[in-house]
């Protein structure tokens, strides 16, 4: 995980700020600069500094004894050298400090610099900058990928360019100074903003997220993240993806005004974001086109996926057929029986379906087996995860690929209504359509975000999958998030009429949105969802997926209580043809097929 250094502290107030936001390092400048501090002030600041933060002294061709004195007096833990200090100078510092003082050798980057020369340096780290703290970025492509020495990246970093800097160039630490200042002083909001951005690049959403996964997969995940960041900044890739979304998946999807439903409920205006009209009949295609195209660019020849109801499996098989990739899908044995038609559909598309016989034989076990497959074949295979879950970078990647939903919806509602909606509703299993539907509204603080979980036969019964309502924090499937689990942390079996929401956890960003109060999550029972399924079919001539019906059901509850000026956008994540049989069964209707 990338470390953070905040440089150029010069007031005691600055120490209070860093103690609050806890970067890994802070810097005192002892060379001539507007940020220069006296030994006395630095000493006083160090005394107040949180013990988990290390202090770095910044010097330009200073006297060795000055550095050693500051080190002996415990004012600095590390020396950062910005002048023309030689290897010999560094060696002397090391020797005289009995090898306790760590050294950062700062390098002014230019075309002629051969960074690999520094691999053998006795310095502990390099610091790559465009000048002596010029505050400008240098051409990051000068950073050799085969550089072994760990480096601090400095110069012109801010919350906007940090994700790319970290994702693509993998620095040991990022060094920030002037971008955190207003009128020459460190600013709390700027520090907060940048620290949050850095936490996101580490795949953290508050305390949730992370990479809790086998060592065997770690390099592959880091590589995937790097490649993802690279291609998302490559106009050719994004154009290719956008063309596929437009010409193949049928985007943009419609934002449909449900007039009869609105009049019948007698309150807020209801709009449906018609992801059910996408190719393959659900939002899943947005994500798989992105991930399978990325896999292809990365030189992989095979993709694997897990699937519950079969929607994500079908979407992955579809994208794999289109992009000429081998495809294997893991599906719980119970689900292969419940959704036999989708199994055949995947096979038609050229995929191989593995019925998973372990555990509860449903979605979570399919995820387990997909990981087991991937761990054995990382060299030629990408695991195309279907939801905003799993280890970083998956929750971020899937969210970004699904964010097209809210990007379009936000623009569409502004065009149609000239204002933003009162609330956006979406169903939540792992949470990919909901993350996609929420994402571009997160900054619009007046827009309520409401996730609808599978309440099954009731949240007071064992038969539900409402993780955010009933679950506890835990670590599973590569992420720290909220899971349904028993007393000793065993993952609990869950139930929902909807196979797509039948997962014992939720993506980490939803857990974070809940804790921060930005989104709320409500349980919807099977009975309510089936009611909504039937209602929308009759009222609008749209048969919604039973998953999406959970969001429709909540709209039916809250719309009548709202004003006619209010607007609800409901993400209709998929179409319901696949569910007709199970709804008939639920209602006790016998179908002769």
């Amino acid at each position: 995980m990338v470390k953070v250094k905040i440089c150029g502290l010069k007031r005691l107030e600055d120490i209070e700020l860093v103690n609050k936001y806890k970067p890994d390092y802070i810097g005192f400048v002892f060379a001539d600069s507007p940020r220069k501090v006296s030994h006395e002030l630095a000493s006083q600041m160090k005394e107040n500094l949180d013990s988990s933060i290390q202090s770095v002294g910044v010097f330009v061709d200073a006297d060795l004894n000055e550095i050693l004195k500051l080190f002996d007096e415990n004012v600095i833990d590390i020396a950062q050298l910005h002048g023309s200090e030689s290897e010999d100078y560094i060696r002397k510092l090391k020797q005289k400090s009995k090898y306790q003082l760590k050294i950062i050798n700062a390098i002014e980057m230019s075309d002629e610099k051969d960074l690999l020369e520094y691999d053998s340096s006795i310095a502990d780290y390099l610091l790559l900058d465009s000048g002596k703290g010029s505050g400008k970025t240098f051409d990051w492509r000068l950073i050799r990928k085969d550089l072994k020495k760990e480096f601090f990246l400095a110069g012109g970093l801010n919350s906007k360019n940090i994700p790319q800097a970290i994702g693509e160039f993998n620095p040991y630490a990022v060094d920030l100074s002037s971008s955190l200042e207003i009128n020459g002083y460190k600013d709390e909001n700027k520090i907060k903003e940048v620290m949050e951005e850095i936490n996101l690049t580490k795949g953290r959403y508050g305390e949730y997220g992370g990479q809790y996964i086998s060592e065997t997969l770690m390099n592959e995940l880091l590589y995937l993240e790097e490649q993802y960041n690279h291609y998302m900044n490559d106009p050719e890739f994004t154009e290719e993806l956008n063309t596929l979304l437009r010409e193949y998946a049928g985007r943009p999807s419609l934002l449909y005004y449900a007039e009869r439903m609105t009049e019948d409920l007698g309150g807020a205006k209801i709009y449906l974001k018609r992801e059910d009209l996408n190719h393959t009949g659900a939002h899943k295609i947005n994500n798989v086109l992105g991930q399978v195209l990325l896999a292809k660019k990365m030189g992989k020849t095979r993709v694997i996926a897990e699937t519950g109801a079969g929607q994500h499996g079908v979407a992955t098989a579809t994208a794999a057929a289109l992009l000429d990739m081998e495809c294997e899908v893991y599906m719980g044995e119970v689900d292969t029986e419940r959704q036999a038609l989708n199994v055949y559909r995947m096979e038609l598309l050229g995929a191989k379906v593995h019925p998973v016989k372990s555990g509860t034989k449903t979605l979570k076990d399919a995820v387990n087996d997909a990981f087991r497959d991937w761990i054995a074949r990382v060299h030629d295979t990408n695991y195309v995860i279907g939801s905003t879950m799993g280890p970083h970078p998956f929750p971020m990647m899937v969210r970004d690929f699904q964010a097209v939903i809210s990007q379009e919806a936000r623009q569409q509602i502004l065009e149609k209504e000239g204002k933003l909606p009162t609330a956006v509703l979406a169903c939540v299993g792992g949470g990919s359509n909901a993350m996609g539907a929420f994402y571009n509204f997160i900054e619009d603080e007046d827009v309520k975000l409401i996730g609808c979980e599978a309440g099954g036969k009731g949240i007071d019964t064992p038969y539900n999958a409402a993780a955010l309502t009933n679950g506890k924090i835990g670590i599973f499937h590569g992420m720290k998030s909220i899971f349904n689990q028993s007393n000793y942390g065993q993952i609990a079996p869950v139930y929902s009429i909807s196979a797509g929401l039948d997962y014992p956890g939720v993506g980490p960003e939803h857990a974070y949105l809940r804790d921060s109060g930005r989104a709320e999550y409500v349980p919807i029972t099977d009975e309510e969802a089936v009611g909504a399924f039937e209602y929308l079919s009759r009222m609008e001539g749209i048969i919604p997926a039973i998953e999406s019906s959970h969001a429709v059901a909540h709209a039916m509850k809250i719309a009548p209580e709202m004003d006619k000026d209010d607007i609800l956008i409901v993400c209709l994540s998929g179409r319901g043809d696949k569910d007709v049989k199970s709804i008939a069964e639920y209602r006790g209707v016998e179908l002769n097929e």
Partner: protein, 257 residues
């Protein structure tokens, strides 16, 4: 010298794994002691988990059997308490991190320290997430055993530099389970690790025959066997003691040939 260091001090160590509560709590105690009697130098005790993602079918099934009669983390601590009455052999937990997280890190490691659990191996806690438990484990004198995989490459340096106890070298890609041959160039990985640390290196994943153990013992300090032992327990149920002793002693002999 710590119990773990002691296990590696002479010849190549044999490390046996079993899943706690398979087939019962009492039998797990008996089987651990039988393995130690037959020459096992260190025992890995698996805390059963509903979703053992890094395991092959054999150990998955053992988890299912153990959980069928609700083996809990507290039961596993009781196993340790019983075993410690009879032996000083180093004991290491193999556990997914969620049961530990759920139990509470403070409470879990305090108990480990009190009962004499020497280390913990967590297959879903890579270097980047080690901070979850590193300090609390150290405070209670429990080593967090690091895994190094055939894909670790340049990660080897930092993992090995921070490692404690011993290093678990994963022999092959994929999940646990018996393999007829190990294809990874273990010599190269081991030499990369030895450049950074003097800690003992034990190789696991796939090893099940004395021939394989003998080969590995030439380049490593320890041989780890799990699925083959669990398979014996699966086949013999409550009467596995003799079969386990025979197997462990043949493997230990192969290690010191």
């Amino acid at each position: 010298m710590s119990r773990i260091a002691n296990a590696f001090k002479d010849d190549c160590a044999f490390i046996g794994f079993l899943t706690a509560g398979d087939p019962t709590i009492e039998k797990t105690v008996e089987y651990i002691l039988a393995m130690v009697e037959a020459g096992c130098d260190l025992v890995e005790i698996g805390i059963p988990f509903s979703d053992p993602m890094a395991e092959g079918v054999v150990i998955q099934d053992a988890n299912v059997r153990a959980l069928k009669h609700n083996t809990t983390t507290d039961d596993v601590f009781e196993i340790v308490r019983e075993v410690r009455k009879k032996t000083d052999v180093p004991l290491v937990f193999l556990t997914y991190i969620n049961p530990v997280f759920f139990y509470g890190y403070e409470e879990f490691f305090k108990k480990c320290g009190e009962l004499g659990v020497d280390g913990i191996i967590s297959p879903d806690l890579p270097y980047e997430e080690k901070g979850e438990i590193a300090d609390i484990a150290a405070k209670n004198d429990v080593d967090v055993i690091s895994l190094i995989a055939p894909t670790s490459k340049e990660r080897i340096q930092k993992i090995a530099r921070d490692a404690t106890g011993f290093i678990y070298v994963v022999s092959s890609l994929g999940v646990t389970g018996m393999r007829s041959e190990i294809k990874t160039d273990l010599g190269a990985i081991i030499s990369d690790i030895r450049d950074v640390t003097d800690l003992p290196l034990a190789v696991g994943f796939g090893i099940n025959t004395p021939e394989q153990a003998s080969e590995i013992s030439k380049i490593a300090d320890g041989v780890i066997v799990g699925s083959a032992i669990v398979k014996i327990i699966e086949e013999h149920g409550e009467n596995a003691t003799e079969a386990l002793k025979d197997y462990v002693s043949s493997m230990k002999n192969a290690c010191i040939d």
